[in-house]
């Protein structure tokens, strides 16, 4: 029952919010913060109650949705891989709502759409049915258009302009285009399952179906569909361009949720559907994925180095960090994949913290251009300190969550793909370069006269930022509970030797 609650809380919260009078901003925000907090507590309880010794699916429940020919059933379950993701969603959602306390333009619709987004994300992480995984996967994309289109911000970079409408349209169309590939391959999987005599959409039964009987190269043909389809949302290299543009236009809360959680949805999809259903396809295509992952890492880091806009830097850095996730997944080594899942969690928190801080800076300075921002730490000490924490976490400093994840990925990649591992470690060094350049340029050094009057982040924003910072520190210092749970989940993946 608990898992259904995680979807129900935000959904019902959204529906109730719709009946609030539109002008009562404060009550709307308080209510949505309450809903977010209760969902966060729920996900923490769920994560704590997950017994990693037993492993496999827990808190399972299911009831049929469509009868015989399609055999779709609304079945929920939590395993080692989705448990940290549920926790991540809870944390990032609560922080996102706290940070968007100063939304004045139509706050009711904003929070209703945010709730729908989060309900979709929770749904994808907890379902055990392929149809509903795709149902919630698409649902998570739907509110994105209005959220960015209405509350986003256009920005003019001189040589090119990125309006919020362009950002919203591009983001939604690109992600739905990605999901087209996923939809086609889901249909193919169903077709193969019905050829094999058991037409069904439930993931367990599909797992036991021998796909290659019906059509010899089935798995090799349709795994890349899943890989690219989900990869688009996860920021796989050639399909990543929506992420920087989307984030530049999106409001803070939406970028936090999007980069923090939705990109992990893509990677989760690759693991849950690609690797578990089509293990042979995974074996043949993993070298391609690890190659692309390395390009992701280096490309994102190098591109981030010369960006002028803070959000572009963070956007490209999430592309680079997602590269580690791809490499980790592609190693098919218990440590590698475990590192990838931990990296999904830690990078989710990290990027959410980054975007929250950038949002705080943007709200006060109304500018995100690095060349103009100088020496902010004098007036915004708290923000500067936590930006440093987030930066150090992203360059993989031990004692913060980034290091454990990246180290495990490196160990995994080192087993077979030695040269790529060297490139990945160099990628980590490049990350250090652009993070430190950013810190030195924007926060340290003498304060420029233009920012003399700047005020510090508000109490609520400080709360959100502190929460995220604390989680980064906690996972970094004591990663044991996370590693055990993830290890239990990873060992169930077929093909992970």
């Amino acid at each position: 029952m608990e898992l259904f609650l995680t979807i129900l809380f935000p959904f019902v919260g959204g529906v109730l919010l719709a009946f609030f009078p539109p002008n009562r901003g404060r009550e709307i925000k308080l209510f949505s913060a309450f809903v977010a907090f209760s969902t966060l507590v729920l996900s923490i309880v769920i994560f704590a109650l997950y017994d990693y010794r037993e492993g496999g699916y827990q808190f399972t429940e299911s009831f049929t949705w469509l009868e015989h020919p399609l055999n779709i059933s609304f079945s929920l379950g939590l395993d080692g891989i989705s448990a940290p993701m549920v926790l991540l969603t809870g944390i990032v959602m609560f922080a996102a709502i706290l940070v968007s306390w100063n939304i004045e333009h139509r706050p009711k619709d904003f929070f209703v759409l945010l709730m729908m987004l989060v309900a979709g994300v929770y749904g994808t992480f907890v379902t055990r049915d392929l149809f509903f995984l795709f149902f919630f996967y698409e649902l998570a994309v739907l509110p994105m258009y209005l959220l960015i289109g209405v509350w986003g911000s256009s920005s003019d970079f001189g040589t090119f302009i990125r309006t919020k409408e362009y950002g919203a349209m591009k983001l939604v169309l690109y992600l739905v285009a990605g999901s087209v590939l996923v939809w086609v391959s889901i249909l193919a999987v169903y077709w193969a399952a019905s050829q094999a005599g058991t037409p069904t959409f439930s993931l367990e039964e599909l797992q036991s179906v021998e796909f290659n009987d019906g059509f010899k190269h089935f798995e090799n043909l349709f795994f890349p569909f899943f890989m690219v389809g989900f990869g688009v949302l996860a920021g796989l290299w050639p399909f990543h361009t929506w992420s920087p543009d989307g984030h530049v236009a999106a409001p803070t809360a939406v970028s936090m949720l999007h980069a923090g959680v939705l990109m992990k949805l893509g990677a989760y999809g690759i693991i849950r559907v690609g690797m578990i259903l089509l293990p042979d396809g995974a074996d043949t295509w993993m070298p391609v994925l690890i190659g692309l992952g390395t390009v992701n890492v280096l490309y994102g880091a190098i591109a981030a180095m010369s960006q002028q806009d803070l959000k572009y830097v963070v956007g490209y850095s999430s592309v680079s960090h997602m590269g580690y996730v791809f490499m980790g997944i592609a190693t098919l080594h218990p440590l590698g994949v475990g590192g990838a899942v931990l990296q999904m969690f830690s990078h989710g928190i990290m990027t959410a913290l980054f975007f929250a801080l950038v949002g705080v800076i943007y709200d006060r300075t109304h500018v995100r251009d690095i060349r103009v921002l100088e020496g902010l730490s004098k007036r915004m000490g708290f923000t500067a300190a936590f930006f440093a924490v987030a930066g150090l976490a992203s360059l993989g400093l031990p004692g913060l969550s980034g290091f454990i994840a990246e180290f495990l990925v490196f160990v995994g990649v080192f087993e077979e793909y030695l040269p790529l591992a060297v490139l990945a470690v160099i990628g980590a060094a490049i990350t250090a370069v652009y993070i430190l350049r950013l810190l030195a340029k924007v926060f340290f050094g003498p304060i420029s006269p233009r920012w003399e009057h700047l005020g510090e982040a508000s109490k609520i924003e400080m709360g959100a930022i502190a929460l995220l910072g604390f989680v980064l520190l906690f996972v970094g210092v004591w990663p044991l509970p996370f590693m055990d749970v993830i290890n239990a989940g990873v060992s169930t993946i077929p093909g992970v030797s």
Partner: protein, 514 residues
């Protein structure tokens, strides 16, 4: 020919007879009513329809009888579509009450014609003989011809009318020629007999499949499949708004009801011949429909092309028909239901907007979300559902339909269809962008310009409400709420509907038991 006992179990057609009497009653009452009470006619016909619906459901539940020596069969398939069409009639009449009051004269004949078209549709769904089907088809077409050109003084409505009539007559001539070819080669007109002769006819003679091809062309015109679709945009744009809604939903649903029964019961044995052709027509239809819709800036024309695209998806279902699995026909019917709810949500929204502002260009919708949040939200929900995004009917029905296609090995067709729903998301997003993101134009004052569509003010009876009404009437809001709820429920919990569809499918495809 079975024995010609024409009067046995006549009671099965009771709903149709009562419907006819109701229509004539409306015409009669129209003569007696003074000009300012014409709205009463609408409530009479709605009440009548509701009564009929109850009667039909009570009387014909679980029936499986033939009539008139096999010409008409009243089974769960016919019953399902009968109740669907009556409901549809009710919603169309309710949503056109304001519009007719404000823009059209002689409301009496208008409601009468709607009742006649509902009658025709019921018979189309129930007929199992090619001639009866043709006659019902013509009855429906005639009522639509008149309704399309109902705004007598509006040049666009006239132009739409003449185009529709002439091209319609032309297509019915082709259909008839096909029927005559079929008859001259096989000699039978009953669906059952046709499928029997086709089953053991071995390879069909050239004359036979020319006949079948021409029948396909005739029906293609009726549903506006691509090579035969060019009339649709002009007719949709010219016709009065409620009639466009009725055309987009009613006439297409009825045509597909007829096609589904025809292809399932009559042409099933030679499916290998026509499956590829229907698949190719489907592919072209959806692609052209969705592509050209991108370039539209008039909302009615946009929805015309979007409905052509939707027809492409339905034809995918027809192409994926199979004796063994009920998926395809279930998919077609489910998509018809989902598509109708969704399309009506959008059209009723446009009708409400038109009643307020009298404008139908996409750009005029900008800033609607600020002024009328519920109206904008309802239309946005409709459009997201048409684009096939979750939570709403579009996603579930499309998923069901494409799974059926994939199951029959038509994965390429399903893939193309999914790409097309992506393209459709683009042009719906343009509209939603106008409603939600573009700021409202500053011409707040002139909400109700002198209606270009109606140089002569409507007779005193029609113009009851004051011209400068700023918010949609509670009636329209009510219909809108119903549509949105329908879209939502088909999307989230389609189980009850799928149960009814299973019964209907087993009626026309005995082998495809679930």
């Amino acid at each position: 020919m079975p024995e010609t006992n024409l009067t046995s179990n006549l009671h099965l057609l009771l709903p149709e007879f009562l419907l006819a009497t109701l229509a004539f009653a409306v015409f009669a009452i129209d003569l007696l009513l003074p000009a300012n009470r014409k709205k009463l006619l609408a409530w009479v016909s709605v009440a009548g329809l509701i009564g009929l619906l109850a009667l039909a459901l009570a009387l014909l539940w679980g029936e499986n009888e033939e009539m008139y020596g096999g010409l008409i069969k009243v089974d769960s398939y016919a019953l399902f579509f009968k109740s669907f069409f009556i409901l549809l009639g009710i919603f169309i009449i309710l949503s056109s009450v304001d519009y007719v009051g404000k823009h059209l004269s002689h409301p009496g004949e208008y409601y009468g014609l709607i009742l006649f078209s509902v009658l025709a549709m019921n018979v189309m769904a129930a007929s199992r003989e090619i001639l009866t089907a043709y006659v019902a088809l013509e009855l429906m077409s005639f009522s639509f011809y008149i309704m399309v050109s109902y705004a007598r003084y509006n040049p666009r409505s006239n132009e739409a009318g003449i185009k529709y009539v002439l091209i319609g007559a032309f297509s019915s001539a082709i259909l008839l020629f096909g029927i005559s070819m079929l008859y001259s080669t096989i000699g039978v007109t009953h669906f059952a007999d046709i499928s029997a002769t086709l089953a053991n006819a071995g390879d069909a003679s050239p004359a036979l499949w020319v006949g079948l091809a021409l029948i396909l062309v005739g029906l293609g015109f009726k549903v506006a499949a691509v090579p035969f679709h060019m009339w649709a945009p002009d007719v949709y744009q010219g016709a009065p708004l409620p009639v466009t809604a009725y055309l987009a939903v009613g006439s297409k649903a009825a045509a597909f009801a007829l096609m589904l029964r025809l292809f399932a019961e009559a042409f099933m044995p030679s499916i290998d011949d026509w499956q590829i052709i229907v698949a190719i027509i489907a592919a072209i239809t959806m692609t052209v429909g969705n592509l050209v819709a991108i370039a539209q800036h008039n909302i009615k024309r946009l929805l015309a092309y979007s409905s052509i695209g939707q027809v492409g998806f339905l034809l995918v279902g027809i192409a994926a028909l199979s004796e063994t699995s009920p998926l395809a026909s279930n998919g077609v019917m489910l998509h018809i239901v989902g598509y109708s709810f969704t399309n009506l949500a959008v059209f009723v929204g446009i009708i409400a907007f038109f009643n307020m502002t009298g404008k139908e260009e996409i750009a005029d919708f900008s800033g609607l979300a600020d002024r009328h949040p519920f109206l904008a939200a309802a239309m946005a929900i409709g459009m997201f559902s048409l684009a096939g995004l979750p939570f709403f009917a579009g996603f579930t029905t499309k998923f069901y339909l494409f799974t059926a296609a994939a199951n029959e090995g038509l994965l390429w067709l399903a893939g193309l269809a999914i790409v097309n729903s992506l393209i459709s998301l683009y042009y719906y997003q343009v509209e939603i962008r106008h409603m939600y993101i573009q700021p409202a134009p500053d011409m707040e004052g002139k909400l109700e310009p002198a209606s270009a569509h109606n140089p002569h003010p409507p007779p005193v009876g029609g113009g009851a409400e004051d011209a400068s009404r700023h918010s949609p009437t509670p009636l329209i809001i009510g219909v809108l709420i119903l549509m949105v709820l329908g879209t939502f429920f088909v999307g989230v919990y389609p189980f009850p509907i799928v149960e009814a569809l299973d019964a209907a499918t087993s009626a026309i495809l005995p082998g495809a038991g679930s």
